[in-house]
């Protein structure tokens, strides 16, 4: 069963005093599969940094992050590719879509990497989140809200043990946010996966099992 461990992690560009105020920076933490972790973090507290560190996009920190027993800073590029394909999925704050590809193509590129769902699920998820009519549109011309929903669906097309969410609803209204949250909870449950959800404030419709202030 996959775990993510943090040991005394602190961004190199943060001062040591952050450790006192934060429940995550400079602490020893263990996240297990199946947990719903809520991280409340005001602007500038390093929320996106934490998500990038957890996903292995950046390594500018002191301390250690482990996937199971592997120290992530020592993982090879192929090693990261393997984890991202099979075990860890992410919705980034800056979305990161292929702007010139259609919504459908963006989703298919992720789905085919390690198909957890058949292609028909793409249509079903898009319909559920209200972007069914956007599948043939280039992402470049979709609104931020639509792009955000594409990024959410993309994260759900692969197998995962951990789903990392970095302000996933910043461009969505409450109604659409709830629909998306519902879908993510269903998908996480189907995999027995954990969700690590970082946002500016608490969101009522995320049934967290542990809460941290960054």
């Amino acid at each position: 069963m996959m775990t993510i461990t943090l040991q005394q992690v602190l961004p190199t560009y943060f001062e040591e005093s952050r450790k006192q105020r934060s429940e995550i920076w400079g602490k020893d933490l263990l996240f297990n599969k199946g947990e719903y972790i809520k991280i409340v973090a005001p602007s500038g507290s390093g929320k996106s940094s934490l998500m990038h560190f957890l996903y292995g996009l950046r390594h500018e920190y002191n301390g250690t992050i482990r996937y199971n027993d592997s120290v992530t800073s020592r993982l090879t590029r192929e090693g990261f590719a393997g984890y991202r394909k099979d075990h860890i999925s992410i919705v980034l704050q800056d979305l990161r879509l292929f702007p010139e590809q259609t919504v459908q193509e963006n989703l298919e590129i992720k789905r085919q990497l390690n198909p957890f769902h058949p292609p028909e699920k793409i249509v079903e998820f898009a319909e559920r989140l209200g972007i069914g009519n956007k599948l043939a549109s280039r992402c470049r011309i979709c609104s931020y809200g639509e792009q955000q929903r594409v990024a959410i669906i993309r994260a759900l097309l692969q197998p995962f043990d951990f789903l990392l969410l970095d302000e996933p609803f910043s461009h969505l209204d409450d109604n659409n946010s709830q629909k998306a949250m519902q879908l993510m909870l269903e998908e996480a449950e189907a995999r027995g996966a954990a969700i690590i959800f970082a946002d500016l404030e608490r969101i009522d419709y995320f049934p967290f099992t542990r809460l941290f202030h960054l």
Partner: protein, 400 residues
């Protein structure tokens, strides 16, 4: 279902630099063509001038004799090579080997038999076997054997064919020459004679003489010879380079005469091979240049597609898989470019063989296998270098 590159391909921005790509393909094609043509021409030269040249295995074979002047005329001691002379020559660094041309020391006549009815006083010589360029396996003689194999200079045949019509004798071809039954007439000092059957087993471009097996001449000189000591009037020298200044200085200093004609053919071949080696090296340089140009193009493409590639890596695509797929995109192009070059080389070789060489049998109509091997090697080399480079660039990209 296997992971497909199909949805990934549009993410690689290859479009707007089509001209630079085409240029690098063209350059590659020209380079490969030059290289392959050079290899084929090099092989052609080997095959055309190969077996029958005086220059064999990278050596010059030349004969030297002492210059006979008015002062030394009639003085055998001064005009023949002594054992010391041979020893001195062998000891020089520019001389690989020396063999004396031993001549007959008795009266010798040759007769053409019934087909070519002429009798003439002549001379025969013998030489170490490994100095003979066209040595057939039948070239040996043992005591008691009536039949003596002979190797004659192809020049002699040419000279004979020039004067033969004037004497009412038939002109003869090389093929007929090797079938002629000759009579060798050897005289004792008292005028008695013995007759042997001679037949020409080969013609030589290198040795300007009539050569009989060493065992025969040694035996005959003992039996028919008037004088005991036998010394050579000519020496055959095997050297790396007959134009070596040290060698020429030595010959000049000793007043030895060199048979220059015999080295000319070898020099021409050497120069031709030099030219085609140079052309081949130039071709190789063009290949390297175009591969470099292509690698710049690849780098540009990866730089332009940087965001997409980075995002693919972020999504969990393996950098190794991506490098393999990206570099594999160009395999068909490489194969087509190299195949076109091979086809053109084949065409040029055929044209050379047919129009310039008039289908000479020494050459094949088809390319030498080494040309194909180099073509395959080039494809592998280009694909491998591409793969390495794409992989390196993608690994560098991996950090966000």
């Amino acid at each position: 279902m296997a992971l497909s590159f199909h949805p990934i391909r549009p993410l690689l921005q290859t479009g707007s630099h089509l001209s630079s790509r085409l240029f690098s393909y063209l350059g590659l094609g020209i380079g490969v063509l030059l290289l392959l043509c050079s290899i084929q021409m090099y092989v052609n030269i080997q095959q055309l001038l190969g077996g029958s040249t005086p220059r064999k295995d990278g050596y010059d074979f030349i004969s030297i004799s002492k210059t006979i002047t008015n002062e030394t005329m009639g003085q055998l001691d001064k005009n023949l090579f002594t054992a010391e002379d041979i020893k001195e020559l062998s000891s020089k660094p520019f001389v690989e080997d020396v063999s004396p041309l031993m001549a007959n020391n008795f009266r010798f006549q040759i007769s053409g038999g019934s087909l070519v009815p002429f009798v003439s006083d002549f001379f025969v010589e013998s030489l170490d076997d490994h100095f003979i360029d066209t040595l057939p396996p039948s070239f040996h003689w043992s005591e008691g054997q009536q039949d003596v194999p002979i190797i004659i200079s192809s020049d002699f045949l040419e000279i004979y064919n020039v004067f033969a019509p004037g004497y009412g004798l038939p002109q003869i071809s090389e093929a007929t020459a090797t079938q002629l039954a000759l009579q060798l007439i050897l005289y004792y000092p008292n005028g008695n004679r013995e007759v042997f059957q001679g037949h020409v087993v080969a013609l030589s471009d290198r040795i300007n003489s009539i050569i009989v097996p060493k065992s025969f001449l040694g035996w005959a000189n003992q039996r028919f010879g008037a004088t005991g000591a036998i010394r050579a009037s000519r020496l055959y020298v095997k050297t790396k380079d007959a134009n070596n200044p040290d060698f020429l200085n030595f010959l000049q200093q000793k007043d030895y005469k060199i048979n220059k004609d015999k080295t000319k053919f070898g020099r021409v071949k050497q120069v031709m091979q030099g030219i085609f080696s140079g052309l081949g090296i130039f071709g190789l340089l063009v290949v390297i240049m175009s591969l470099m140009l292509f690698s710049f193009y690849l780098q540009l493409m990866i730089a332009r597609s940087r965001d997409s590639l980075q995002l693919l890596l972020l999504l969990g695509y393996s950098p190794q898989w991506l490098s393999r797929k990206v570099s594999r995109q160009f395999i068909p192009v490489y194969v087509i470019v190299v195949l076109c070059a091979v086809a053109l080389t084949q065409l040029m070789h055929w044209a050379f063989h047919h129009f310039a060489m008039f289908d000479r049998p020494e050459l094949s109509n088809w390319l030498h296998w080494s040309v194909g091997a180099v073509a395959v090697l080039l494809i592998f080399l280009s694909v491998f270098t591409n793969y390495r480079m794409v992989k390196k660039l993608l690994y560098r990209l991996h950090q966000v």
